[in-house]
């Protein structure tokens, strides 16, 4: 029984300490805008964007979160069904790098994906536009971390200068799409209901 054709919707969740630039990255990617003002994200919200990934048009739904609350205000329903999780830290803030582990673990638990080992994460080191002397986390350290977590793709970005933002989200979309395809395989579709008692007919091809 053919399923009605579905529009591909990719759910992407962005996590990281507050102030690392999650909202800014999303805004830069979706609206091509950046603001120096800091406005704490309240609760969670999402932006959508249509992108072409490998000749397919997909809609990515980017869920921004308020870092400080550490998931507590948001239901698990929120994280379930995510296709990709983007972890963001601020390269000038060592603390925001150290908390990555617990963001990742917390996400995995809340989302409990089918195949946690291969669940796509992407790491973004944001705010690379600032002067070198301020940098607190080296690229080496970040890539080492990514390697230890099963080769997570890593991008150094600047929401302010729009550096690498497009590339990063392209990768995010691609990885999410792969994940989505896998989930579809996993999903336990309810078996089609047989309307007719005679099964040969309900599944039958045209016999002529």
């Amino acid at each position: 029984m053919p399923q009605p054709k579905k529009t591909v919707l990719l759910k992407v969740i962005i996590l990281g300490d507050s102030g690392v630039g999650k909202t800014s990255l999303m805004n830069q990617y979706v609206n091509k805008r950046f603001s120096n003002q800091y406005k704490a994200t309240i609760g969670a919200d999402f932006l959508t964007k249509e992108v072409v990934v490998d000749d397919r048009v997909v809609t990515i739904q980017l869920w921004d979160t308020a870092g400080q609350e550490r998931f507590q205000s948001l239901g698990v329903a929120f994280y379930r069904g995510a296709d990709c999780c983007v972890l963001v830290y601020d390269v000038n803030n060592a603390k925001s790098f150290e908390t990555l582990d617990s963001w990742r673990d917390e996400f995995l638990i809340q989302a409990s994906p089918q195949d946690p080992v291969n669940f796509p994460f992407v790491l973004l080191g944001n705010k690379i536009d600032t002067e070198d002397s301020k940098r607190a986390v080296s690229q080496k350290k970040a890539t080492n971390w990514c390697q230890s977590k099963g080769n997570i793709p890593y991008f150094e970005t600047s929401a302010k200068e729009a550096i690498n933002v497009e590339q990063a989200f392209q990768t995010i979309a691609r990885n999410a799409l792969v994940q989505e395809a896998e989930v579809e395989l996993y999903a336990n579709y309810p078996d089609p209901i047989r309307i007719d008692q005679d099964s040969s007919q309900s599944y039958g091809r045209c016999e002529c």
């Binding site: 959508t48 507590q72 617990s102 995995l108 638990i109 209901i193 309307i195 008692q197």
Partner: protein
Amino acid sequence: MAVELKLKINNTHTNGLVEHNQRICLASASSILSYSMDWTILDSYKDTRKLLESLEILQQPQLMAILGDSTLSLHKMADLRDINLSIKNVVAISTLNSTHSSLSAEAAMQGRKRGTSKRRIRLRPIDPLETPTPIQSLLAVVTKRKVSVYTWTQDTAQHTDIPLPNTPKLVKILNPYTTFIAYSASEYSLIQFDIKSQSVYSINDVILPSTNKSSLTANLTGFLYRSKPLMTPLDSEHIILVDGTQVLVIDQDGVIAKSTTIPASADDIASARPFIYITIPPYSNETGSTHVYSSYTLELVQVLPVVCSFLHKSSSVLYVDAPDGVSTIELVNTKLLIDSSVKQGKYDEALALLDSGSGIDITQAEQAELRLKILQLYSISLVDAGLVDDAIDIFIELHTNPAKVIALFPENISGRLYTPTHEWSILFGDFAKLYKHVDERGESECEDAIHNSASMSSIKSDTDSASVKSNGTARTAKKEKSSIEALLRYLTDRRQKLKGSMSQKKHSACTSLNVKLTDLTKQQLLDLPSSPAESLNGSELAVLAAVVDTALFKAYIETRPALVGSLCRLENHCQPEEVEVSLLDRRKYSELVSLYKSKNMHGKALDLLKRLCLESESENENENGNEESDLEPCIAYTQQLGREYIDLILDKSRWMFDVNKDIAIQIFIADDERVESLPRLRVAHYLHDIDSHLSLRYLKYATEEINDQDPALHDYYADALLQATLHSRNTPSFDSTYASYVAFLSRSQQYAPKERLRGIPADALLLARAILADRLGRHDDALRLYALDLRDYDSAKKYCNHVESKDRSIYTKLLKLYLRCDERTAPASYYKTSSASASVSPSPTPSRTPISDDTSNPLNAPNALYMKEAVLLLTAFPTKFNLSEVLNLIPSITTVDELNVFLLRSYKAIVGKQRWNSVTANIRKAEDTRLAAKLVDLESRYVVVDDNRVCPECLKRLGNSVISVHSPRGQVTHLGCKDRFSVKLQRTQGYTKQDTI
């Protein structure tokens, strides 16, 4: 009997009726009549159209949609004469007033996306006291080859036109994101909108069973049952449509969820929970009738012997147009119906009946209680039937005690909470005894369900009946898996809620760590309150958190072993006793270490790490003789413990030193705050017991690299170095050890020199003694040690230079030492000291060989060597000495030649010094004069007369009297005293002037 037809207005017929705001509006020909709820007429409005067919309310914009003569008009509800919009050639309309929030939209979307949309249970009737969610109103209008969707939200109104290949006959909005259209009785399509933007949509055909039949049959059926398309929303995610004699329940993705057959093609359809009403016109020999079906089981409930057309569904009744006039269909004997539904295990139906609110004569409180009981039964039955996901929704909604929920799951997850199915009813109290496990409900019922595929039991859904026939085991496994999935959703949700509540109450880790579930009986756990996390007290929260996390852990072990690590690493409330065994069994050691770590059970963690390390060592040995074992994890773990755990660290790290000292030392020497925070003296003592070299290495690190300034540590280090030095005497390592001792003594300012000096055995380690003597301020002793005992003349000179600022006579003292070796200096000459080696490396007295030559005549004259040094000293620093003193000291036998340079330089220095003195004296004098002149100048210009100033002549206060100022010194006198004072002044002036010039 379940429902009853009640005539309201005799002989009045209509096509359109709505109830809104305690009013009923009814379309009658070209008028709209407005009634109160007891059917007294209030108002009427006359329209220009001939026949009004359908009325709908749009709540958000407060508009009434009126369709008549193919024209749709939107009227202000406050005044129907005020028309907002008018559209011609309208075929059909549909409206929806929805309270879908964005999150439930998300949920709906998720369901759509995953293709797992399922029955959703309306748990609670909308509570009017709850903060009103903003209503969104939608209107769909079908015109020629187009459907237009208008949307009103709180602050926007928008509209999308969707062009279509044909003109549909019927449109129904299911929810804000899904609209169904029908072209004919067998051609239905659905339009799905994007959540964020209505202009993004997709249209798909609904695949009906009749579509699969050959086209001929389809046509034939179409011909035989030719009738209009019929559909009506069942709930926010399902729509009912009629395809010939099939009634299908379709979900929002167009997938068929349930179906049944009706005896003949239908005329009209309506849904008002818990029933679906279908009008069947006369056929063959039958008279027309209205069939009432359960909307849950699609079972036929009742047949009303009249043909009705359905007008409007209000919260409690269904308005119909019956042969006798406008009537309502109302529920009767609801309580009986509920009871019978409950008995039959049709809990969802019972709930819907209860929620319909009509025909029950029990109080609100009783209703709420009954609701709760039915819901609990319902939830158990859902779990029993494997529809755990749905059950979980109820558990979450009811805030059911998680212990009870977990108890429903297999023992590998629920542990000692496990409760076999036949005891479930006990879990949920007396009422739950009503619940019977499926097996007990009797085979016959199940059999029936299988044989009669059209009528399906509420719980044992289609898939189950099929499963009995097909491969049952695979299904069971699948079912079990999906039920654990649902449990995961539940547990992670609970975990989050409990955590949130705990952190709000600041009942953080400390209290929860003390929770031991084993202290509580199973019953105590099951008796915990079923209430929202916010209203639980600290200890209840802690216990429940432990229950939930432990179950989550076990569920992960079963289904997502990879997530066990994540759970263990994060702050968690798992009961270590319960989970460690299973981690050990599965050899998930790193997870176990993480768990211990998160629980601050570092001792156990370290023991485990030790075991692993030693095991791998022995394995390696067996395999390739490589004895290197990886201490790394143990060390890393120990490093992050910090000061607080010093006892543990010292206790548990001993073995690592036995394995590899050089690596193990990293426990204490690492670039890490926590490592640096360890109490250093204790560490030093500890290391000393293992190996004094380690201790020294550590102390060097502590004092040099991390710059420890603790005097006790420095004392300890100095003594340790001393011991090491003494121990290494006569060994090749002596030199370097002694060098570092000396270096430390010179560098550090923190140790207590007196005690250190006392610790050095007499006559040994002279250089060290010299440094210590200097520290004690005993410069003479230090100097003697350098000059005579060590015969390190260079150092002696440097020492003079170093001390000069404190003791100006130090050079002379050195000279005296050289020239007059009194008895006190003698001992040094017992030891042979080559001056060369003394200057290169501090070499104390390895051998005590007397120097025979020198001792022969120590008292009378300085030996030649000293004399030479004395002369060198004088030559090098001629200005540091008093010439006459030197001349007195010098032994008479000294030749002038030897002293030539000294004398010359000394003389030059003296002369130079004198010259310099006279120059400075004169400069000072000139400056004095300049200042005196300036003073005179100033004093002649300004005088200050204050209360205390007295006249120098009469010695009385000047006060306010007239004064006279005398130059050049500016003395002030009374005017009357002026002359006398001038005379006196004149007398002294001669001298003064002379003096100043």
